[in-house]
């Protein structure tokens, strides 16, 4: 089986033409990026708003769960019948799939910023807008990006449904392979989807590393803290000792002393 899979992948014929791997991969990537992009555009501001104001949190969580409960394949089929256009139906289905994790990430990210830090932002005189962009969003970055990564993974895995409504993407290999009882092809499709998911996740984790403020990367913080000597911590313990042992300022000789 593995042997056949490798042969299938190695076959130059499978790397050319409208059903070739590069084309299918790009189609798949296109669906994913468009869907994830749209979902981010919708869900990120909504999540940030609700997290920032604290208003509508329950509504949001309820809506998110409801969306999550929708079966994507059923939704895409339904939209296909209602909307007509296959591509639109597919993309909407994927957007609906990607919205809940992004929403949840943005909302909980902002919501979970330390209350004292938010209080400090208000206290130093930030406007709401400044507080959101300068304090809440940077501190929510790990969770926001976690939500986006989550959404992308799900979309990559689910974009195979596009094939069911006659579109392209890596799902074609799986669907056509099953129809033609060509299991190496099915396997190759599944493998390519998995590889794409891993690749995108690696890219996004790189992005995450870039945009999450260094102060929040706790592992790095610890390392650095260990490398640098904490010299100043000691300075604070010095206090104002006035024991006989420690006279230390210059001055004039006293009276009332009898030299022995």
């Amino acid at each position: 089986m593995i042997q056949q899979l490798i042969e299938w992948l190695a076959d130059p014929a499978h790397w050319r033409g409208p059903d070739g791997i590069p084309t299918r991969l790009l189609e798949h990537l296109y669906y994913c990026l468009v869907a994830a992009g749209f979902a981010t555009l919708v869900a990120l501001p909504a999540g940030l708003f609700v997290g920032h104001t604290g208003r509508g949190g329950t509504l949001l969580v309820g809506a998110g769960n409801a969306l999550r409960a929708l079966p994507t394949l059923g939704l895409v089929t339904f939209l296909y019948l209602v909307v007509g256009g296959t591509q639109t139906a597919t993309l909407i289905g994927l957007v609906v799939l990607a919205v809940p994790p992004i929403l949840a990430g943005a909302y909980s990210g902002v919501q979970q910023v330390d209350r004292r830090v938010v209080d400090a932002a208000v206290g130093v005189g930030m406007t709401r807008w400044q507080r959101l962009w300068q304090v809440e969003v940077p501190n929510a970055m790990p969770l926001i990006l976690g939500g986006i990564r989550n959404a992308v993974l799900q979309v990559v895995a689910t974009a195979a449904v596009a094939a069911y409504v006659g579109l392209g993407g890596l799902g074609r290999y799986v669907l056509d392979g099953i129809r033609a009882v060509d299991y190496p092809k099915v396997l190759a499709g599944a493998l390519l989807v998995a590889l794409l998911a891993i690749l995108l996740d690696v890219v996004l984790s790189g992005v995450q590393w870039l945009v999450v403020p260094a102060g929040l990367r706790t592992a790095g913080v610890g390392d650095e803290g260990r490398r640098r000597p904490r010299r100043s911590a000691r300075r604070e313990v010095r206090g104002e000792t006035t024991d006989t042992g420690g006279g230390r300022v210059d001055g004039r000789a006293g009276h009332g002393l009898r030299k022995r």
Partner: protein
């Protein structure tokens, strides 16, 4: 803005704050804070200190009454602008974890439209002011000790040079030694920068130490007494205050009795390093070359060879001439010879005092005070 020393800079006028759940956090507060002073709010947990403080920069809005800063109702000001003009040191520092220490301190100048360069230069200056080494500026808050974080919190509040500082238990997260150091620094800063400081603590020792005036709050947000520390210790307004200021208030009160009238006695001294020292029936005070006390040599000691510090009993605390009597009493009580060493400002010994002398002086002082019609302070 020319501000007269002693002008009322912050005023609470019949201020009441009741939260939505019915809790009355502050009850009909009337109080004025003078410009250029440190005023302390002290009281048991939940008595409304933080709430009162936060009404000054509109973090909390009063239910009734008015809060004036520099003669203007704070409600007439834009909240964000008002807050940029009032330094606020938040309990447990509240630093921004995603920003370096330097950028934390630069926050308010940046909000005020300074260039990043200028704001950072100012921030670096302030690290120096609060006694932090420059390299700390590049670190993140998570890499600092609690005491360092609190200093950064103070630096951030000072960055835009606001005339008013609100400090909410700024030194609560540190051990007593560091805390005392920070208190000293606050007093030094205050004398250098001439800020009006509102300082919240639940520690009466801290209140008496840093406060020029102290407001004691009782549970329910009622102001129990507003007075200068000596007055508070000597004449608590009621049982609550007496209870709150605690058992050691008599001793604490000595911190406010001037020691100017203290006349130290003579004492026999030896110099460390001298050879062939033999003491008689009395303790000998050992000094170094510059006249600074090093310890005591016990009676009837015979030292062959040069006198080294090993032969000496470590001395007690020192009393600096002219400072309050508390230090003199402590010096006498902590000295192995029973005589407290008095030094000049330069740390050189000028004589000794006994506890008895201090107490006599105190009695005389008290008699003199009572003879005055007002009672004085």
């Amino acid at each position: 803005m020319a501000r007269a020393w002693g002008a009322r800079l912050i005023e609470f006028q019949s201020v009441t704050k009741a939260f939505d759940d019915g809790t009355v956090a502050v009850n009909d507060l009337d109080l004025a804070v003078e410009a250029g002073t440190i005023t302390v709010f002290v009281g048991p947990s939940g008595c409304g200190k933080t709430t009162s403080l936060r009404m000054v920069n509109r973090m909390v809005e009063p239910t009734s009454g008015r809060v004036l800063v520099d003669g203007r109702d704070v409600r007439s000001a834009d909240p964000a602008l008002l807050r940029r003009g009032i330094g606020y040191v938040i309990q447990h520092a509240g630093l921004f974890p995603h920003r370096t220490v330097l950028d934390n301190v630069a926050t308010v100048p940046l909000l005020g439209g300074w260039t990043r360069r200028r704001a950072r230069a100012r921030a670096a200056e302030l690290l120096e002011v609060v006694g932090l080494p420059q390299e700390v500026g590049r670190r993140y808050p998570a890499q600092l000790s609690g005491g360092q974080q609190q200093r950064v919190g103070v630096a951030r509040a000072l960055a835009a040079d606001p005339p008013v500082l609100l400090m909410d238990e700024p030194f609560s997260a540190v051990d007593p030694v560091v805390r005392e150091g920070l208190q000293d620094e606050l007093l030094r800063l205050q004398s250098e920068l001439d800020k009006t400081v509102l300082f919240v603590t639940h520690d009466i020792d801290e209140a008496v130490r840093v406060g020029e005036r102290v407001a004691v709050f009782a549970t329910g947000g009622v102001l129990a007494q507003y007075a200068e520390p000596p007055e508070l210790l000597a004449r608590p307004a009621n049982d609550f205050v007496a209870d709150f200021v605690g058992r050691d208030r008599g001793y604490w009160g000595l911190s406010f009795v001037a020691g100017g009238a203290l006349r130290p006695d003579e004492v026999e001294t030896v110099t460390v390093g001298a050879s062939g020292v033999v003491s008689g029936d009395e303790w000998l005070l050992a000094l170094d070359e510059d006249g600074r006390p090093r310890g005591w040599l016990r009676p009837r000691a015979v030292v062959s060879g040069p006198l080294s510090e090993q032969e000496l009993e470590p001395g007690g605390s020192l009393h600096t001439l002219g400072l309050p009597l508390r230090g003199a009493l402590d010096a006498a009580l902590s000295s192995p010879s029973g005589r407290g060493v008095v030094v000049d400002r330069g740390g050189r010994a000028v004589g000794v005092v006994t506890a008895h002398q201090v107490l006599e002086l105190l009695a005389a002082e008290r008699a003199a005070t009572q003879a005055r019609p007002e009672g004085g302070r």
